[in-house]
């Protein structure tokens, strides 16, 4: 028997096996994409959809026949409030801001949420709303005869522009968005200069000695430390150890009567800064390393000092890459939740943060809070907040790409 025939005997089965496994590898890739796609789809699915609204007080009983509540003017709304609002709530709202000073839209909100009190009786996801509309309508007419079926986008202007409240229908993300932006500003302010400076030291100055090698290894190790450990560090150092500074009492700042005891935006921002510092350093190092040595040598050759070379040649030439790496690190920091819970994010905060010494909550914290509530409405609210968070991260990345491209065009050296 010749070897060639032996070879041919096996060949078909070997190829068949090859094809089978090829299919397996393709399937696993497909599965990975499906899983990750499902993640995004779920969010969209939950952020929009039909809801069944049931009013505690029938709107038609409040207005004269043939008119609608939305079309009433301020005076008519005032009349409804005077008639129907309980004296206790009336006084409470009057104390917030006198009724005479309020606009019609304001009064309408009060009538709606204090007297009519709409309630979400049932919620549906986007896919249910799109593909099972008929059965939803049937179900609603049976279960909630006086309910109204409306399509609701849980991400809406009201949601984006109001502070947090306890009710799912009126709550908003403004408090959390402001908190996130303030916190991240502190993080950027601290981590960018320190991180880039550290990278310059390691790439341009550090000699190959034991101390510098240790610093380098140490940075790699820090990049792998779980984020919650940084939370513990922040709790012990910033919240407790430096309480006088982080609570603002050392600077005579009063936190509008509330005691924030170190659990402030400043502490949170610094904790996140320490957290992303290793990543920023590593990215910036790679950017600086990519600059050809000839650029430095020609600068030194015409008489520039080392720092002049770095400041006028190396940094401008590598800044686009440094920036991209740093922004990637920051967009990771925006999504961080665990360290901020440990540092002491407020669980329920109705007052928007006013400065770095305010108590804080951030978008991921709110998502965590809302997700852990059992009611279905909060689940949709959480999905809406996730949409806002992802949009924030995307716009940050888009900004980075845009700036990088602009810098590239101005750049003199590759």
């Amino acid at each position: 028997m010749s070897g060639r025939e032996d070879f041919a005997v096996n060949l078909a089965s070997r190829h068949a096996r090859g094809d089978r496994w090829r299919l397996m590898f393709m399937l696993s890739t497909l599965l990975a994409i499906v899983f990750l796609g499902a993640l995004i789809l779920t969010i969209v699915d939950d952020a929009f959809g039909y809801v069944v609204m049931v009013d505690e007080v029938d709107q038609r009983s409040l207005v004269p026949d043939g008119e609608r509540l939305e079309s009433l003017d301020a005076e008519a709304l005032r009349a409804v409030i005077d008639e129907r609002l309980s004296p206790r709530r009336y006084r409470a709202i009057e104390r917030e801001r006198p009724f005479d000073e309020r606009t019609a839209a304001d009064l309408y909100d009060i009538v709606l949420y204090e007297i009519v009190k709409p309630r979400v009786a049932e919620t549906y996801t986007l896919f249910e709303s799109l593909f099972a509309r008929r059965s939803i309508v049937e179900e609603t007419t049976l279960a909630h005869p006086d309910g109204e079926l409306v399509f609701r986008s849980w991400v809406n202007m009201r949601f984006l522009s109001t502070s947090q409240t306890a009710r799912p229908l009126t709550t908003g993300v403004l408090t959390a968005v402001k908190g996130s932006i303030l916190t991240i500003s502190i993080t950027i302010l601290f981590s960018f200069p320190v991180g880039i400076a550290a990278a310059i030291w390691l790439e341009e100055y550090a000699g190959d000695n034991r101390l510098n090698r240790f610093i380098q290894v140490n940075i790699y190790n820090l990049a792998g430390v779980p984020s919650i450990i940084y939370g513990m560090l922040g709790l012990a150092i910033f919240v407790r150890g430096l309480e006088r500074f982080t609570s603002g009492s050392a600077f005579g700042a009063s936190t509008s009567g509330e005691v924030a005891n170190g659990r402030t935006i400043l502490s949170a921002g610094l904790t996140l800064a320490i957290l992303i510092l290793p990543v920023i350093i590593i990215n910036a190092q790679e950017a600086i390393r990519a600059i050809p040595g000839s650029l430095r040598q020609s600068s030194l050759a015409v008489g520039a000092t080392k720092w002049q070379t770095i400041w006028h040649q190396v940094l401008p030439a590598s800044f686009d890459r440094i920036l991209t790496g740093a922004v990637l690190a920051v967009s990771r920091a925006i999504g961080e939740t665990a360290p901020l819970v440990v540092v002491g994010a407020s669980t329920f905060l109705t007052q928007d943060p006013t400065g770095v010494f305010s108590k804080f909550t951030t978008l991921p914290i709110q998502i965590y809070q809302w997700t852990s509530r059992p009611q279905a409405e909060f689940r949709h609210i959480a999905a809406a907040a996730i949409v806002v968070l992802l949009a924030l991260m995307l716009s940050l990345n888009a900004f980075a790409i845009f700036t990088r491209n602009r810098l590239r065009r101005q750049k003199r050296f590759g």
């Binding site: 090829r22 990975a32 993640l39 513990m232 510092l277 689940r379």
Partner: protein
Amino acid sequence: MKPVQTARYPEEARGALSFGKRFRPHEAVIQALLFFCAAVSILTTLGIIVVLGAESSALFKEVSLWEFVSGTSWQPTIGEFGILPLVNATLMTSLAAMLVALPLGLGVAIYLAEYASERVRETLKPILEVLAGVPTVVHGYFALTVVTPALRGLFGQESIEVYNTLSAGLVMGILILPLISSMCEDALSAVPRSLREAAYAMGATKLETSVTIIVPAAFSGIAAAFILGLSRAVGETMIVALAAGAGPNLTLNPLKAAETMTGHIVRISGGDISYDSMDYRSLFAIALVLFLATLALNMVSRSIVKKYREVYE
């Protein structure tokens, strides 16, 4: 004809012109500043060690170390500090995560590195990278609202609890999948073409080349990716905090609720906690265990890359 410039360097006038190194104070100050910034990372490490060490040693004055490592019940209210239930839950979720991420991640990596066309690879890689940037709290949301109900539909409502380690572990697998697949893909792509071509020339099929030549050649990179993924899974917090349940529970049943180390830290520190209490200190002791475990894993991962990397010309 007069020279354009007649001025001389002051040093030249003094007859002391030197091209040697001059002392420039502001350069030295800048250098010192840069070094200080680099040293911040050392301060951070020191801070972590000192803070975790000091608080946990305060705990170990009251609870013996042996009790801490071997106790089977974690109930700070009655003074029981046995870390086993928390470690057990962490291991269970991490194991489930690796069971998802390991085969799937390697499959994706082999497909992208060996089979996919240039265009498919260029499209899929950025997608995977973007998805790796999704915050983990979103994964937690996904676990609680999608995976858990799906599992309960599959196994029956009675046999599986609302909070369970299986759901958390599976979603954690999805979380670390992009990390593992992208690191493995890098390792596989780094294997030179000549090895593949040699294998084809010997008559090996594509599968045989991939499995018997390329994967072993890239083994150090793949092993490092797995260990790094494991370290990420051990330290992952929000998924387990949302989906794995509250309350330490020593069980090997993945369908039951059990709190992991990270989940416990988040739940306790999220509530009102008084400083200098045993509760507070015990959190730092847990964090110390977590820190040492992930540090060891990361170091092993990096030393594997260093030691066993095949160097090709």
